[in-house]
């Protein structure tokens, strides 16, 4: 039984009078790949951004291993070294080459010496298959390549857990595959991952657990088989099959 890396208890987030989500409980164990699915606007992305404290929750607690990161006085910058994030819009540093993008955190945050940082950055780029693009700027890379650099950038920090916020939603269909492939390999290598996505094929194949969120709360969670073939709620079944119609088949064809 592996130990929990991320524990979320009673997490709540509001914007003004709107409650985005309320009293969310979630446990992510070491090596798990958790996929969060649900209709747009249900707060999945907001939840993810709370996990690395980019967004401050209004209630509840989050633990990273044994440290309560929502406690007052937590060094957030330090926490974010251990939680990696990949964004829907890649958000690469436009003024830096791919290599420099990956290097920046190593040099400025981890205070690694130049040579070491450069070597590690190159290694991470190789891991995502982009060593030959190290000297290119984001503007010179395709969407899929940019996202892979984004993954390398997050991985370079040697995080305990990787968060993916709809990593393929902004990509042209033919570029989705290369990113999902990298993610698949990561999961197989044992990385702990929390992924928000619409890619049902990926979810079915790679997820240890799927969490279905709607209207700000978790409707159901369980193994892919459980959710797809024996869902407890009608709503879950509806959503899964509708989405699979749109996305799953497409991925199977790719």
């Amino acid at each position: 039984m592996s130990k929990p890396i991320l524990t979320v208890k009673q997490l709540t987030k509001r914007y003004g009078s709107n409650t985005i989500f309320e009293n969310i409980d979630l446990t992510v164990n070491e090596g798990d790949t958790i996929v969060i699915i649900g209709p747009s606007g249900t707060g999945k992305s907001t939840l993810l951004r709370c996990l690395n404290l980019l967004t401050k929750p209004d209630g509840g607690q989050i633990w990273l291993d044994d440290l309560e990161i929502t406690a007052k006085g937590t060094d957030e910058d330090r926490v974010r070294q251990y939680i990696g994030m990949v964004f829907q819009n890649f958000l690469l540093f436009n003024h830096l080459t791919a290599l420099e993008n990956v290097k920046l955190g190593l040099v400025r945050v981890k205070h690694m010496p130049e040579k070491e940082a450069e070597a590690k950055a190159l290694a991470e780029l190789t891991r995502v298959g982009l060593a030959d693009r190290a000297g290119h700027y984001p503007g010179q890379l395709s969407g899929g390549q940019q996202q892979r650099v984004g993954i390398a950038r997050a991985l370079a920090m040697d995080p305990r857990v990787m968060l993916f916020d709809e990593p393929t939603s902004a990509l042209d269909p033919e570029l989705i595959g290369e990113v999902l492939e990298v993610m698949r390999k990561l999961a197989l290598d044992g990385m702990t991952m929390v992924v928000v996505t619409h890619e049902m094929g990926f979810a079915r194949e790679v997820a240890d657990r799927i969490v279905f969120m709607e209207k700000g709360s978790i409707v159901e969670e369980g193994s892919p088989d459980a959710l797809f073939y024996h869902p407890k709620y009608e709503r879950t079944r509806e959503f899964l099959w509708k989405i699979t119609e749109l996305y799953g088949k497409k991925e199977a064809q790719a």
């Binding site: 980019l54 070294q81 990696g84 994030m85 540093f93 010179q140």
Partner: protein, 225 residues
């Protein structure tokens, strides 16, 4: 044309004056940049009080003529016990004035780059200040360059009024030539040509700078005035 002869006659004089003009521009621009950057950062990232102070500063210095600011510093401050030389007064007035305009150019660019790059920087553990320094500013400064380029040229032209407090710039030399030759029109036409030349060269320099600092593949279209 008479002005051409006049130009030849007073050539060394005009060159010296142009030198002072360029010096005034350079000092004013630099002072204005440092202060302007601080103001821009304050307007985007500082708490409310500082933000308000920055806004007030910018409104005041953009809402009043440079000439008034210049006179205030050179003629007005002495009655408060602060006496500055003509040159120093000119430097100060030009710098404080330019800062307000540069702040707006820089602020616009910082905000355009802003929130998502800030999020990306924080996500790998950079602090707020580190992100501003290593991620946002490098991009914002390049982005601001086309519209910011209006400022050095504008400043070069603006320096012409400081001759009114007897700073020996190009305009002062023109006035001197006019007094000597009794031909104001030719004198001022002559320096007009020199100013035109300086603006032309400065423009070319700025275009070159733009090309040199371009980020490959990254193109946000900014309108050049």
């Amino acid at each position: 044309m008479e002005w051409l002869q006049l130009l030849q006659r007073f050539f060394s004089d005009f060159v010296r004056g142009a030198g002072i003009t360029l010096e005034l521009t350079a000092v004013g621009l630099t002072l204005g940049f440092v202060l302007g950057l601080l103001l821009a950062l304050a307007k985007v990232y500082a708490p409310r009080l500082l933000r308000g102070a920055a806004t007030a500063y910018i409104e005041v210095f953009r809402g009043t003529p440079l000439l008034v600011q210049l006179f205030l510093i050179y003629y007005g401050l002495p009655s408060l016990g602060i006496t500055l030389s003509q040159t120093l007064s000119a430097y100060l007035a030009l710098g404080l004035n330019s800062a307000a305009y540069q702040a707006e150019y820089l602020r616009g660019a910082i905000q355009a780059i802003g929130p998502s790059q800030m999020m990306a920087g924080r996500s790998i553990g950079l602090s707020r200040w580190q992100t501003i320094r290593h991620v946002i500013l490098p991009q914002a400064l390049r982005l601001a360059l086309p519209s910011w380029s209006n400022e050095p040229i504008s400043l070069l032209k603006t320096t012409a009024v400081v001759f009114l407090i007897a700073v020996q710039d190009l305009m002062a030399k023109a006035k001197r030539a006019a007094t000597i030759t009794y031909n104001p029109i030719a004198s001022y036409l002559a320096v007009a040509a020199v100013y035109l030349l300086m603006v032309f060269v400065l423009n070319a320099l700025l275009k070159w700078l733009e090309r040199k600092t371009k980020i490959p593949g990254f193109d946000i279209d900014v309108k050049r005035v």
